[in-house]
Subunit: 229 residues, 8 copies
């Protein structure tokens, strides 16, 4: 049964180049199941975000099985996956282990759109040399997504070293004065390194969409052959 409340915005994909995703937090299994049924009926693929393991377990088994689920990022692909059409354009750099959840949400969102991103994890500023060892690798990407919580110092360090685009994602990692990501957000917004761009807290999805917009802005620059498969 399909809920009469579900209204898809399928044209959005064509209009702005970003497929509608299903944000599952706060949605019950019945609602998610109805959305999947509707998408199946119309033969559309879907990206699901913030679907935790409990939510997955409550879906009808055949629908759950049909999902390509990633436990760490809490994302799922439904339906046939678009082939990779862009490589070597986006790196995702994460400061701490706990930031990896958000980093992988960005990676999966990009993959759903046909973009293969490179993940560079655990290069926080507290171990500066680990970051500096990989800086030449990072410098080769035109777009870098920097994921960090707490003080978010890695964003400023990258901002002082990189020429290219830096999309910052604050995370809600940390406690007390980390203020559920608000400190990282404000630190990124007021970075001493100029020209950083910032997304909402924990929004790996939003950062990926922003990267897609940037790549879409320069369609001829989509693929760097020297880094192709």
């Amino acid at each position: 049964m399909t809920s009469p409340d579900i209204v898809f915005d399928y044209e959005r994909g064509e209009r702005i180049g970003l497929d509608e995703a299903v944000f599952c937090a706060g949605k019950g299994p019945a609602q998610i199941s109805a959305i999947l049924s509707l998408a199946a009926e119309r033969g559309r693929g879907l990206l699901l975000t913030r679907l935790d393991a409990d939510g997955l377990a409550q879906l009808p088994p055949d629908q759950a099985r049909a999902l390509d689920y990633c436990v760490m990022s809490r994302t799922a692909f439904f339906g046939p996956l678009r082939p990779v059409t862009s490589r070597g354009r986006v790196a995702i750099v994460a400061a701490g282990t706990s930031d990896a959840v958000v980093a992988r949400e960005a990676e999966r969102t990009l993959r759903h759109a046909g973009i293969e991103a490179s993940l560079i994890l655990d290069v926080g500023v507290a171990g500066l040399w680990r970051l500096l060892e990989r800086i030449d690798e990072i410098l080769r990407f035109p777009v870098v997504i920097a994921v960090a919580g707490m003080d978010a110092a890695i964003a400023s360090v990258l901002g002082g070293l990189l020429r290219g685009t830096i999309i910052c994602v604050p995370t809600s990692v940390g406690y007390g004065a980390a203020e559920a990501g608000r400190t990282a957000l404000n630190a990124m917004l007021s970075s001493c390194a100029p020209g950083l761009l910032t997304c909402n807290i924990d929004s790996g999805y939003g950062a990926a969409c922003a990267a897609i917009r940037i790549l879409n802005s320069f369609p001829d620059a989509q693929q760097d052959p020297s880094r192709g498969s």
Copy 2:
């Protein structure tokens, strides 16, 4: 006389493609004058931001005269201006009359870097048709800087209509619940339209630097011949 406290980071231009600018708010005339002298000595050009009319009036007259000053954006160019090397790549869209100050700071910062941007003013959401009349024009730019205070609704409207990159600048326009730009900032960060990118409040300079980073990321896409001079 040159203050021993001034340390320029001239290599930054080469390293990350963004010249150091002089943020004049909070600096006294003696400090600004010393910086200009030092730049003159070394034959460097400079961008000055947040230099209000009072601050200009307190500079030594010959230094003040040497500045190309814009009263609305409170910016000044010092030294020979770089030629325009990029056109038709960046539009700056501002919602209200009072947002124009920030929009012009972005425009001037881009111009200092050799990028000519197009200004599209007073197209706030309260008069939706004025915005829709110009939407085809806006759609032609790969990078759009959206400047808005208070509810910042124009950012979401653009986000639902544009395929390209959208850099949002919240402004401190408004009173009460506008919370000195914090409401606009939060609205842009939590926009219902995905993939928006946000800068610090009132930071026309920051938005311009971000646009420069994006253009630098795709050097071959720098110039659209159909919109050339």
Copy 3:
């Protein structure tokens, strides 16, 4: 058994035209059951709000069965329902799927007072054309309740297009910079469109009460025959 702590304000209905409702969040099943018994004793109808499915399940079965319960809005009608006495006066417009919960609480509260409202869902600004397609329909209602979370941009868009009364309800939908509805609230309060009116976060009940007050202010204008059943 009737709790000695329960003091009904039955005259309120006569005095200000709004029946007392039972806000169930934070009340235990014993308390709610006692209130229902007391109302039954006195032959009064009641509106219950924020009664979630768990709370319903913990009520005595005969009391639970006597309720006309709506799972989405978490509201229940107890006792005989007032007939519809007003139609075509109030539209409820909701931006996103998750806002529908609050929109339906408003709809049910109005219905309890004898007012039939029209629901227009999923017309968020990110898909602007979906909203514009229905704008002529919306324009026909003297009172529009606009329900939206996150950036709440739909409130400003409606404010620029509608001549009539607009009651805004911010919702706590969203995460991070959405700040549990505070961003939507502030955006509605500082909208670039003048004359918007705002209720507490998630308060579909409050918005409905405000609409009832407005209709009560103009009793002769209660029913538009051209839109009657």
Copy 4:
């Protein structure tokens, strides 16, 4: 000379029934003067808000003389004033002496739109009997604008006594825990009396626009003959 940055939205008056007003705070005398010249050229009337005595003194003398200025509300009418077309529909109730500034801004905005409102001042809750003595008078108005700062308790008291529409305007009166109007705003939004509607802090203009919207929603109910001049 007319600034090319000024873009009037004259059609707004027709579209949504609210003339564009000029918010003078943050605008320099040159900007305001240019706006007045443009309006004079096109033969349009204008409402100016937040024009303080200093701002008035800096305008060209002939323009300043042409204004109908009210020092308490800091508003000015420019051009011929619309005749009064509605009476006895709106009361403005203010709690404290300092709230009178905002109350008068509302009164003047209504008057500019042809609506004569009644002012009822200094009826704060700390002197409850003063309010109760006038409650029968207040009850006769379909729309009441309640202006109060600090605890804003008058809004809840009115909400428990009035059947009609109540538009609340929090003011920034008070210090410390009054938090520049934020406490009054929150108290109005979370009032124990249901169905109150709230505007931005200090926004007498916004409250008046909301009242105009409500009156426009019920055009046949515009004039109560029993309360006519």
Copy 5:
């Protein structure tokens, strides 16, 4: 077994006239049990606050049985109860049903200290006449504790009508703009009625302690014979 970490401050009773109470929120059953054993050993009575039904159920059955527990206020008396030594000095006035929890915590704390207070419930400002009907009764008490959440308007109304001492307790009742009691707290602190005194949010215990301090300040005025049992 007695935990070596427990250090009682028994002399406090003598020193400042307030017995140490055990705040049970955040303490495990083992910790509470050890405190009770220690008190039993030393033959001391104790007041326990914020002990919810679950916490009670987890205590050793004999200790649980030994408690005089009140489910609504989540308080318990341990050991023999002091006789009532003061009557007719303190009234506790609560605005809404949900505030009764905090009101009863104050009542029980006073009772533990030998003071019998009068509870006057459900006299919120939204039903002003209910409050006014009882105002003469309230006026007879030298000390009034006013308990209210959300807008806390009752505190200001009482402040304008009462000559005596008013101790305000904001409660965390309400949602959204009620901000978990912060709005009520700020409204009480910035009341338009002068001379109100305020305690921490939900602190019925703190208000009772303050009332005890006031009564202790005037020992000769402790008992009003005209209101004795």
Copy 6:
């Protein structure tokens, strides 16, 4: 000339025992002058608070001369002063030099009501022995007003040593994390010493009014003969 907007609440003195005071911050010299004229006409005395030296200088010279002005507390008495009727009941204890401004506002407000208070200054916790040396003296007062900014630690220290009533006044002294008095306010509200009562930030006037209420609650205890004049 008397402004028609001034409405005195003279009966308040009789009703609640607190004379209306004129809060001068935000009032212009014309407004204050009109209030003084009106009071003179009716032969009433007045307390003026927050009247700074500039405000005083702008009053008509004969009115300024008629005031008994205190530059430190920024208060003025107008008209004949009530005789002292109560002594030895209230001590005002201030932590730092900068808190003395607020302490003196409390002292003057009490004096206007005929109550002579004792000032004990500069006994902050950072010099604990200075406070302990005077603790026996402080212990003799039934009511102590504790004035402190920043960490407000003195309130808790007094709360652990005193049996009597403690009225806390947070001050806006300090910078950064002192948050304009919010930190002192919150520290007083959440003191580890039970039964403290708190007023608005910087409200020496409010604390004095609260002390008057407490003394009024126990009229027989008004005067301690052992400390009489």
Copy 7:
């Protein structure tokens, strides 16, 4: 199996003298187990923090058994423990019973680094004499960690009495105006006693690391023979 996402920073111990600890909050049992396996493989000891009893119970039994677990501080030592190399240098002073959790986290972190600290519990300011009785003992330690929530007044009292280093740790103990530790944090930062140093809320670990840094700064002063074992 070892997760490829785990990247240890083992050199950190050598570089900055602080071993990497595993912050277990937010990590699942699989993640923690993998980290333990990896450490076992490489023969490294580890400190685990914020590992609650539930988390411990979900670990593989042999790994759980291998941990030296402290239920109160929620910390565990894994692998052979470093011998004690420093004594008599650090005291940990805690104000209330609930602060002991954080105090013990600091103690255990220091112990893991070979430093034996002295715990002095329950010496809050509300019982000032208990603190003063032990002040001579406290004065003998060059470094004192002061742990307190709510008003954090003990920090200022110590600051006025001690000559040595004071590291403050605010705790999230308390409710309402305690604001989850923010009030204690701000009070410590704006203490009237100069030279206090502050860590993040509840960060016993951070305070211990800071103490280690200070001891490492003065290696010759590491051990006070007069206080040796």
Copy 8:
């Protein structure tokens, strides 16, 4: 003339090793002058902080001349200066030009106490190599004061590279999301590098006092001969 309100705490110097300083912000010239007279009478030296140039100009000329004033740090020494007794123990590292004001306040406060500190300016993270070039120099100091505003990233970078004590001072430099130093404060408190210690915003004085406490804790380690003058 000497104000009776001035109470010096001269013994504090002996008791806790920190001389009382005069915080001049908010004090008028008469107050400061009286303090200087009193100190002169008693033959005491004094440190004055936050004395801006205007404040200096308003002092009696002979007193002004007697001060050793530093315009950048707004500090003054009064009376004979203590000789330098410690060198090579404290470095002050500042991120941006605007942070130098606070850095110099720390330097002057240390100098007043006989400690000569080394200033290392303009080594912000946006120009990482400038910092890394000087890291070996910084590593030689047992105590480093890190001064930074906005994102405060330098604190975390230092925390990952240094073994010794790091005292962080957030500054109010920056705008918008820098939130007057609150963002820098929170970033320092929640740094990814463990063991950082933090002072109040802009408190160069507080950081210096903390450094003095640390040096006082280890008196034998006071002077490193290898770094002597």
